[in-house]
């Protein structure tokens, strides 16, 4: 599966309060959450973002609260994947479980600027910066996680497993 979009670039330690402030946690629909995505650190993000766009960030993306509203808000706003040097662990699980692809790749982060156009091939982990022509390869997912991703998230994976057990 191939993804292509413009890049929104951020620094280190982007926390889930920044991705979706807690004052909106009385909402739980992706479309409603998306209206406020990133607004405390990037007020224009919501106006700028287009379907397919990609977030590129430094280390520890998604740290802080366990709110699954964070990947939902990103997905709702059209973000197709996040490339970072590292991810906070609860956010990582939440993204896998809800079907938001994450790619870990230091080199890509160092060589991609805001507004660049980037193409990502999820099956091979190949990241191409179409603006510069450079390519990078992300860390592969462990086999166990590939099964969850291939099933379309943890709920589908669990359903498949339990029907197989029967």
């Amino acid at each position: 599966m191939s993804l292509k979009g413009k890049v929104h670039k951020y620094g280190a330690n982007i926390d889930t309060d920044a991705i979706i402030p807690a004052r909106y946690l009385n909402l739980d629909e992706a479309a409603q959450l998306a209206e406020h995505c990133m607004e405390d650190i990037d007020i224009d993000f919501v106006k700028r973002v287009k379907a397919g766009d990609i977030i590129v960030a430094e280390t520890n993306f998604g740290c802080g609260s366990s709110r699954e509203h964070a990947p939902l808000a990103l997905k709702g706003s059209g973000i197709s994947c996040v490339i970072a040097k590292s991810f906070a662990r609860i956010f990582f699980r939440n993204a896998i479980n809800t079907g938001l692809p994450l790619l870990e790749c230091e080199e890509a982060v160092d060589n991609i600027k805001a507004e660049d156009t980037v193409e990502v091939d999820l099956s091979s982990g190949k990241i191409t910066n179409l603006s510069s022509g450079k390519t990078f390869t992300s860390k592969p997912y462990p086999e166990f996680m590939m099964q969850i991703i291939a099933a379309g998230g943890l709920v589908e994976h669990t359903k498949k497993k339990s029907s197989g057990a029967r």
């Binding site: 309060d17 920044a18 946690l25 009385n26 739980d28 405390d40 650190i41 366990s66």
Partner: protein, 417 residues
């Protein structure tokens, strides 16, 4: 094996587990709250299993935006309440409710050796009871509610040894802030933090809960302590469940061993906008503040409330600021009332509230305006966490917070007592 590895091994039917290995563990307790349960319930219903794996191992606590702060949060609380009644799970209504991570240990729902998963990042709090407790998202919790199992990657363990005697006014909050300041907000990413040493042995259970609670602020998966006499005394009378006391082997393998001289650690203050941005109180300088919050799952227990009262007794809150004190549970509130602490607070000019997470995550009960500064005993000082994006949060222990409330600026209790 380490303490954490032994608990994980015992819950996946193996004799040994190794860091990096993927395992499926049985869960002893599955938690969610009024903001994470609605999504978990939606995903649970999508699974189509009809019933939860064991109603007595599932807890829901309406604490974040409860008592309901607005119509939408009332709808979320209602959805959770109806699910709780339908499935006959453990549920604490407003009036019995407290902050989830304060009441679960208090009510004896967690014992050493348990695996607890919760749709709240501060589920790691129960590591103080030698349980393996960790936060996850709503979908993970939906799966655990349905099956009683969840996948985990066995984390490496980092051992922290605190040598020496803690100084006056220094507690668990200062140790954990100091640690986060030292290793940074991702210094324990994906890892278990195991706390040991003479200074740790000296800490009360309430202070240990504070440390486990903030392991997540260093990226940790869990923050764990071994069982000792204080743990056993805490559990006595709270639970009749039998439990296993696991401890790390002398030859257990650690990813790192980090040693601190506790006697050299001053009370710590974490400056905006990261918990790792710490300074010792002696280097804070003159920072005038607009609000003080004392409470939360980090510092809302009786030891914390007593400490604040010790400073506020016979003194007045500076008229230029608001001091908001939130006992973490009805029991903490009642104990404080019986000890005369609530009277001390009201006489000092502080506001005292029923238990809620409220201001910690910018929900309600103490939101900050643009330009305002707050000293808070909570756990996060991210941009906009407690209100306006131009507000500032300084994290500290309850003694610093109370002294700051009296003096109108970030201050040490040494200046008063």
């Amino acid at each position: 094996m380490t303490l954490a590895e032994k608990i994980l091994a015992a819950h996946c039917g193996k004799n040994k587990v190794n860091p990096g290995e993927f395992i499926n563990v049985k869960t002893d307790l599955v938690l969610s709250n009024d903001i994470t349960a609605p999504i978990a319930i939606k995903e649970f219903n999508r699974l189509g299993v009809g019933k939860v794996f064991d109603p007595q191992k599932i807890v829901m606590v309406p604490d974040h935006f409860c008592p309901n702060k607005d119509i939408q949060s009332a709808e979320q609380a209602k959805l959770m309440r109806e699910f709780a009644r339908q499935h006959n799970i453990i549920y604490f209504e407003v009036g019995q409710m407290g902050i989830e991570h304060v009441i679960l240990p208090e009510k004896g729902l967690v014992v050493p050796g348990d695996i607890v998963v919760g749709a709240d990042s501060h589920t790691d709090t129960y590591g103080a009871l030698a349980a393996f407790a960790t936060g996850m998202g709503s979908t993970d919790i939906a799966i655990a509610m349905a099956t009683g199992e969840i996948w985990m990657k066995v984390p490496p363990t980092i051992k922290f040894i605190f040598h020496g005697k803690p100084r006056k006014w220094v507690g668990g909050k200062d140790f954990i802030l100091y640690t986060i300041g030292n290793i940074s907000v991702d210094g324990a990413l994906y890892s278990v933090m195991e706390f040991t040493g003479e200074a740790i042995d000296a800490l009360s259970m309430d202070n240990r809960f504070t440390m486990s609670n903030m392991a997540i602020e260093a990226g940790g998966k869990a923050g764990i302590f071994a069982v000792d006499d204080k743990t056993r005394a805490y559990l006595k009378g709270r639970t009749s469940r039998k439990y296993t006391e696991y401890s790390s082997d002398p030859d257990a393998e650690y990813a790192r061993i980090i040693e601190y001289d506790a006697s050299g650690i001053e009370p710590q203050v974490a400056f905006p906008h990261l918990p790792s941005n710490t300074k010792p109180i002696s280097q804070v300088g003159n920072i005038a503040i607009d609000q003080v919050v004392i409470g939360s799952c980090t510092n809302g227990r009786l030891d914390d409330i007593r400490l604040a009262a010790r400073i506020l007794k016979g003194r007045k809150v500076d008229p230029n600021l608001r001091c908001i004190i939130i006992p973490g549970s009805q029991k903490v509130y009642m104990d404080a009332l019986k000890e005369g602490l609530i009277e001390i607070f009201i006489k000092a000019g502080a506001a005292v509230s029923t238990p809620t997470c409220g201001p910690c995550l910018g929900g309600y009960m103490g939101i900050l305006a643009a330009g305002e500064k707050c000293v808070s005993t909570t756990n996060r000082n991210f941009v906009g966490r407690m209100g306006h994006t131009k507000s500032e949060i300084y994290l500290a222990n309850p003694a610093i917070a109370a002294a700051s409330a009296v003096l109108g600026r970030i201050a040490s209790p040494e200046e008063l007592v």
